[in-house]
Symmetry: none
Subunit: 253 residues, 2 copies
């Protein structure tokens, strides 16, 4: 594990990585039964505890689930985004070992509608840049992203590779330090255009995310709609019960 000489990985991590790769490559379809612990012991020539340790990690990462007496099954990959901080989709997914990519559908200068004007604090005559992309998770379309940028930001994007994340681009190449984002979530039916891009039926549920991102000076720099497939996306977060609310008549559900 010191610099050269292929770092020796513990067996359980090697097994975990092998199985994870197989799952992500689709060797095991969602809900398909995987080899038993006994079979894995034999095929990897290791003890059961080593296999279990690998399986336990895979379970913790949500890639498998196990039922006593039945066996181990591949989970349906589900993108889950933690809402603790403004974290990009790609970053969140890559940290889980999923492969992400994005495909630019279009980029153009537009006359912003009222909503975009209000959000970006601009006028119609200022113009704005609209970027539409489809994002992929493990090569399957998962979201259609429609982003609007004020011209002083947007005009720099025409010459950039938009097949990857925009946030680091804004920060690292345009030197725009990002700050707060306002986010809203709704469940909506997919319209025909989105349904087509996401390879689903019109009317099926999507998670409709609106996000307005500011720089650290609170200037709006990016207003976007993200339409995620409902069956492939989940938001997750923690909240605390605020103490002072207990004195009121409200609160809870």
């Amino acid at each position: 594990m010191k610099d050269n000489a292929m770092p020796h990985q513990p067996l359980y991590l090697q097994i975990k990585d092998t199985l994870k790769k197989q799952i992500l490559e689709g060797k095991y379809a969602p809900y398909q039964k995987m080899p038993s612990e006994s079979e894995l012991m034999n095929s990897f020539s290791v003890s059961r505890i080593t296999v279990r340790q690998a399986l336990r990690d895979l379970h913790r990462e949500g890639l498998i689930f196990t039922t006593q007496g039945k066996g181990t099954f591949a989970s349906k990959p589900k993108a889950m985004q933690e809402v603790q901080h403004l974290e990009g989709f790609e970053e969140a997914m890559n940290s889980k070992g999923y492969e992400t990519s994005a495909q630019l559908v279009s980029i153009r200068e537009i006359m912003p509608n009222k909503d975009v004007q209000d959000k970006l604090n601009i006028h119609a005559r200022d113009g704005a840049v609209e970027v539409i992309r489809v994002r992929y998770l493990n090569r399957e379309p998962i979201s259609v992203d429609t982003s609007f940028f004020p011209m002083q930001v947007g005009r720099h994007l025409f010459s950039r590779d938009l097949g990857r994340d925009i946030f680091p681009l804004l920060e690292n190449e345009l030197n725009i330090p990002l700050g707060r984002a306002d986010i809203s979530l709704e469940a909506r039916p997919a319209d025909a255009n989105i349904a087509k891009l996401l390879q689903m039926e019109t009317g099926e549920p999507i998670m409709w995310v609106q996000r307005l991102t500011h720089d650290i000076h609170s200037n709006p720099v990016d207003y976007e709609y993200l339409a995620f497939r409902g069956d492939s996306y989940k938001y997750h977060f923690h909240v605390e019960r605020e103490r002072t609310r207990t004195s009121g008549k409200q609160g809870g559900q």
Copy 2:
């Protein structure tokens, strides 16, 4: 918290709960060294693997961290950077001048399925109380709430008015101080039952909210599914861009 016949818990879970309680009570200050595995083996009279399994779970919950050669230490209490308080539904709506109400569909004692067992940390034979309600906004159904309570909480609900919020009921009448809640959001199609209760078409999008609420001692007290009409509900919150991530090559969207 389990008053009657304490169901037999695996040793590692008992040890984990004991240590967790000690940590949360402040017996070990943040970063303070905890007993070694060897000492825990002796004090609990179990094998090392049983101790390690308990420690592994505590580590996974963020309560401890371990360093090879040094030992095991209490973590700094997660100062949950709460995105924003989940504003109580009723409060949020009432502050906007909307009229809210809830109608009890059913309350019954059930044998909890595996998911509910896991979430409420109970066994099937413990039973649980299931409460199903429809919530109204300005007299139109907006959500179907299915809540599960462990028996020591749930049995008190049979004699209560469930036409109003449960959280203040739990806090003010049952003296259960509420703490953290884990929440996840998904867009899903409404099944026939929910569609009927919400007066919508089967398959239309709903916002599927899963919420596990704990008391301040981290005991789970309420596990619920909230199915909101997609066309009548929106989640909104703020997040900050985390500074340290800008140094990476990933991030953004």
